[in-house]
Amino acid sequence: MYQTTYHRASSVDEAASLFGKSSEAKFLAGGQTLLPVMKQRLAGPSDVIDLSKIKDMIGVEAAGDTLTIKAATPHYDVATSDAAKKAIPALAYLASLIGDPAVRYRGTIGGSIANNDPAADYPAALLALGATVKTNKRSIPAEDFFQGLFTTALEDGEIITAVSFPVPAKAGYAKMRHPASRFALTAVFVAQTKSGEIRVAATGASQSGVMRVGAIEAALKANWSPSAIDSVSIPASGLLSDIHGTSEYRANLVKVMAQRAVAAAG
């Protein structure tokens, strides 16, 4: 690791002002992505501003038809939150599948979506549920937030404070784990909103990051059942291909995971 200066912020405003004062600052949440990168000397921020102790940024709350997860809430807290399990059980289940226990105790939803790894779990949920990303400056619909591999709508120094999810009528998640990293080799989140809209998002599959799967949405709109997806054909072109999964395999997984997610949603 290169030399760096550590700051522990106690409020969002303090964090933003610290960021403004340093030359090349990075926010630190769970550190599960940032710290390995720093240890390998692939990043060398002058200052590291820790968000994980900001009280206003931690917690899971359900109010009316909205479930809000504050940005520095660790995955473990989401997985075990009664509010999350009641409002959107598929989302709590998704959090329980992230990495391993050590990663779940430290890693946060804010860090995960800010990083926007093409194989991360949360982006699929945000996209399928039509969530809104709240920052210290504005609200960004999930659709506009994710902009391709490791790229988001966040501006320099902008802090994610929370994510709010409209509670759906039904939702389900199915994940094929990457055998080494435990990220998604391919995973699919399916949701039926209370207004009847059907949204399906796949992560780990596309070369351009998390994506909606229109063909499956259309099939499910006609018939909400796993078998409705049997006849859907997912093209392999544009999908990731690596030592753990060819693009053909991932195309198959998009279908199979979608079927299992629908079955899980009921």
């Binding site: 690791m1 094929m176 055998p179 080494a180 990293s181 080799l185 030592i243 753990h244 053909e248 199979v256």
Partner: protein, 780 residues
């Protein structure tokens, strides 16, 4: 046996310090004035080192020195050696390229060191390393073995034309051809044995400390065999004579073979410590472990098996290409030859065998012994062949094995080994019963109704352990003898120190070795301590690998114990005014049999040291030593059966049951044995399903971190169902065969046999990743 004797499930003594974080590993050691080394490693798989400019680095804070490969040459430090000479079929010696500890001219794999920065701290050394400018001229590289042997392939070493190290043969070609000419059926199979990265939990580390006044070096290192390290460092690398070099291997966190070898880093640390006049520490990180710890396996094999009309095997032909990586590591040459092809008879009566092994250089990390070393490759090949044959000949795979089992012992195979004892039917019976083999068809049908593909796979392995008779291995080209030494020191108060040349790096020697003493003397194991891993304390030893510590190391202790007991009995007899022949040892006392006369062991010890009243002419003291050279290998064997389900939608494998029935001869501590089997099975299953060290066509490693290299985790593994069928090994007095590698040797074939059974297609390589299985299921 007593509560702590042979056969007792004694809780491991060493776990107190390991579990409470009090283990003392090399990296825990801090010496006054210690500097830290950071190696500058090649990013290229093949390149010329044109220039190394360290001028900027030398001006950076805390930098003590930047040393290069050329300086090693200038100081006449020797190249790394390979200690087992193999002769090709044309009679020529194996062809080896020089391996300098840091490359002065040419780098041949990604991660090979070219220079080292020595600085006041690890971080400062790393900072400075970034300022060292190395000018490389890239050369064409070849990582794939098949590509490396083609005409026109990039050449690694001028000494080895065609990138060929050797072309070695074993067995009787004429007899084998004759068997094939008469065969009723011939079964053919191509298999790849995937390359693995060993990944001991503790990365390699070294601290070298040169004392200028005494001209003496101390090396703390992560070694499975500190004496062998000292021998090689002194005899071949010109570091220091043996009496001026102390090697200490303190607590070592796993080895699996990878810590047998002498690596460039410890050599450089020793040499650098003298140059800079301060202790030098190097601790590898995980990336360095992936890049530089010797890898395992990496074979490509074509094999054919001939059967007569009664399904009896009549002949076996094998041709194997073995990838050695860019250099020949310490014992690498022996692994695909004498540790592999000599086990190709498996558990079967095969009258004629012929095997050819071609060793190949590629621009990849060197390959050497890794848990099982050659024997997993042999066992996997034979057991895949048997399964393939059963499918082709349409007979039950268990029955085909029984038809061919060796049942008479001793049995001389056509490939050197003479099996001393075994009962292969007994282990297969036990495994089949444990898994309810007979009920499998019904379970398969049931699974099918739920959309799952269920399969069952058998693997009957045999291995050669307890290496080895020194004379035998010497005649095959080994540069060392493979005996073991021991010393029993009884203190005046009756506590006992056992000095052993075996080295424990997870095996539990501090417990099992004490159990032998407890068993013989009836003293509690708390009265006994095991001393190992320090060349200043233990006179000499050959170390721990090849499941040899109990069969060879413990037998040496037994021999020394017998000598000590014989003297102690004389002292006791003298004190009790009885005849030596009437003295028996029971519960910590020396008794005159048939009487109530007895003297406690501590009193015998005290008598030996006070020397006030010893038998006429007896020397004071109670300390004996022994060297034990085995008369044969030992032959652990067993039957593993795996039942699993494949999800046809994803290709993912889930275990239903895994049974292992092993014959390890006598068990000292069944709990520790089970732990060894669990770990071995995890590695065997890891190889079958998950692990693969991969290079791209240019020799860049693709799997140099745990984010890409799949290590097996607890939830990848089934709950194991273990049992033992025992035939005592006649070759050593304790009847021990060894248990350290069995799981890794036998498991992979059981898993692949089960998956191929489940999916109804025989053609499947390891690792059977979900993607690969899914594509195999859906292949036309």
């Amino acid at each position: 046996m007593g509560v702590e004797g042979i056969g007792a499930r004694v809780v491991r003594k060493e776990d107190k310090r390991f579990i409470t974080g009090k283990g003392r590993y090399v990296d825990d050691i801090k010496l006054t004035g210690m500097t830290h080394a950071h190696f500058i490693r090649s990013p290229h798989a093949h390149a010329k080192v044109k220039k190394i400019d360290s001028s900027a680095a030398l001006k950076m804070p805390g930098v003590v020195a930047v040393l290069t490969g050329q300086q090693l040459v200038d100081d006449k430090v020797g190249n790394l050696i390979c200690g087992w000479a193999i002769t090709s079929k044309d009679g020529s010696p194996m062809k080896m390229g020089a391996w300098p500890a840091m490359a002065p001219e040419t780098v041949r794999f990604v991660g090979q060191a070219v220079a080292v920065v020595i600085a006041d701290s690890k971080n400062l050394a790393r900072d400075a390393a970034e300022a060292v400018v190395v000018d490389y001229e890239e050369l064409p590289a070849v990582a794939d073995m098949q590509a490396a042997i083609k005409a026109g392939a990039p050449q690694l070493h001028p000494e080895a034309p065609g990138n060929q190290v050797y072309d070695w043969v074993i067995g009787d070609e004429g007899a084998t051809d004759a068997a094939f000419a008469k065969a009723a059926n011939v079964v053919k199979l191509d298999v790849t044995n995937n390359r693995l990265a060993p990944n001991a939990m503790e990365p390699r580390a070294a601290i070298a400390d040169y004392d200028a006044a005494e001209e003496h070096f101390t090396l703390y290192t992560t070694s499975q065999n500190p004496h062998v390290a000292r021998l090689v460092l002194s005899a071949f690398y010109n570091i220091a004579p043996e009496h001026k070099l102390r090697v200490i291997a303190p607590d070592v966190g796993g080895g699996f073979g990878s810590k047998i070898f002498i690596y460039p880093e410890e050599m450089v640390a020793l040499w650098a410590s003298k140059k800079v006049g301060r202790p030098v520490k190097w601790t590898g990180d995980r990336t360095e472990a992936f890049l530089t710890d010797a890898h395992g396996r990496d074979h490509v094999t074509h094999a054919e098996m001939a059967f007569d009309a009664n399904n009896k095997i009549t002949g076996l032909k094998v041709k194997t290409y073995a990838n050695f990586g860019a250099y020949m590591s310490l014992f690498s040459s022996s692994v695909p030859t004498y540790l592999y092809a000599t086990l190709l008879s498996g558990q079967y009566n095969i009258p004629a065998i012929h095997a050819e092994v071609i060793g190949v250089y590629t621009n990849t990390t060197p390959v050497d012994a890794y848990r099982g070393a050659g024997r997993p490759e042999a066992s996997y090949l034979i057991e895949r062949l048997m399964e393939t044959a059963a499918r082709q000949l349409k007979v039950d795979p268990a029955q085909l094995r029984r038809t061919n089992f060796i049942t008479q012992f001793p049995h001389q195979t056509p490939v050197i080994m003479a099996y001393d004892t075994g009962d292969f039917n007994a282990s297969l019976d036990a495994a089949m019963k444990a898994i309810d083999y007979a009920g499998f068809a019904a379970r398969k049908a049931q699974a099918k109704s739920q959309g799952k593909l269920r399969g069952i796979g058998v693997s009957c392995y045999i291995e050669a352990c307890g290496i080895a008779p020194s004379k035998a291995v010497g005649s095959l080209g080994a540069g060392v003898g493979l005996w073991e030494s021991a010393e029993v020191r009884v203190n005046p108060v009756g506590t006992i120190e056992i000095l052993t040349g075996s080295h424990s790096h997870g095996q539990g020697h501090e417990t099992t070795f004490c159990q032998l003493v407890a068993d013989r003397l009836g003293v509690p194991i708390s009265q006994v301590s095991i001393v190992h891993g320090d060349t200043d304390k233990v006179q000499f030893g050959m170390g721990t690998y090849g499941s040899r510590s109990a069969a060879v190391g413990l037998t040496a202790i037994l021999k020394a114990m017998e000598k000590m007991e014989s003297k102690a009995k004389k002292i006791a007899a003298h004190a009790l005014e009885a005849s030596e022949a009437d003295i028996v040892i029971e519960n910590g006392e020396f008794k005159v049999t048939g009487t109530d006369k007895a003297i406690a062991f501590p009193m015998v010890a005290l008598a030996a040291y006070t020397a006030h009243n010893l038998p006429e002419g007896m020397e004071p003291g109670l300390k004996e030593s022994a060297f034990y050279d085995p008369t044969n290998f030992t032959f652990p064997a067993g039957a593993y059966i795996c039942e699993l389900e494949v999800d046809p939608g994803t290709g993912k494998t889930s275990f239903v049951n895994f049974v292992a029935a092993d014959d390890f001869g006598r068990l000292i501590n069944p709990m520790i044995v089970e732990g060894q089997v669990h770990g071995g099975l995890a590695q065997g299953i890891g190889q079958a399903l998950l692990e693969h060290a991969i290079y791209d066509a240019n020799g860049q490693p693709v799997t140099a971190s745990f984010m890409d290299y799949s290590m097996p985790r607890a939830d990848d593994l089934p709950s194991f169902n273990l049992s033992h069928t025992t035939t005592l090994c006649p070759g050593n007095p304790l009847g021990i065969k060894g248990c350290g590698e069995a799981g890794a040797i036998g498991a992979s074939a059981a898993v692949i046999n089960a998956i191929t059974d489940a999916i109804g297609k025989n053609d499947l390589e390891m690792p059977a990743t979900p993607d690969r299985v899914w594509r195999t299921i859906h292949a036309a």
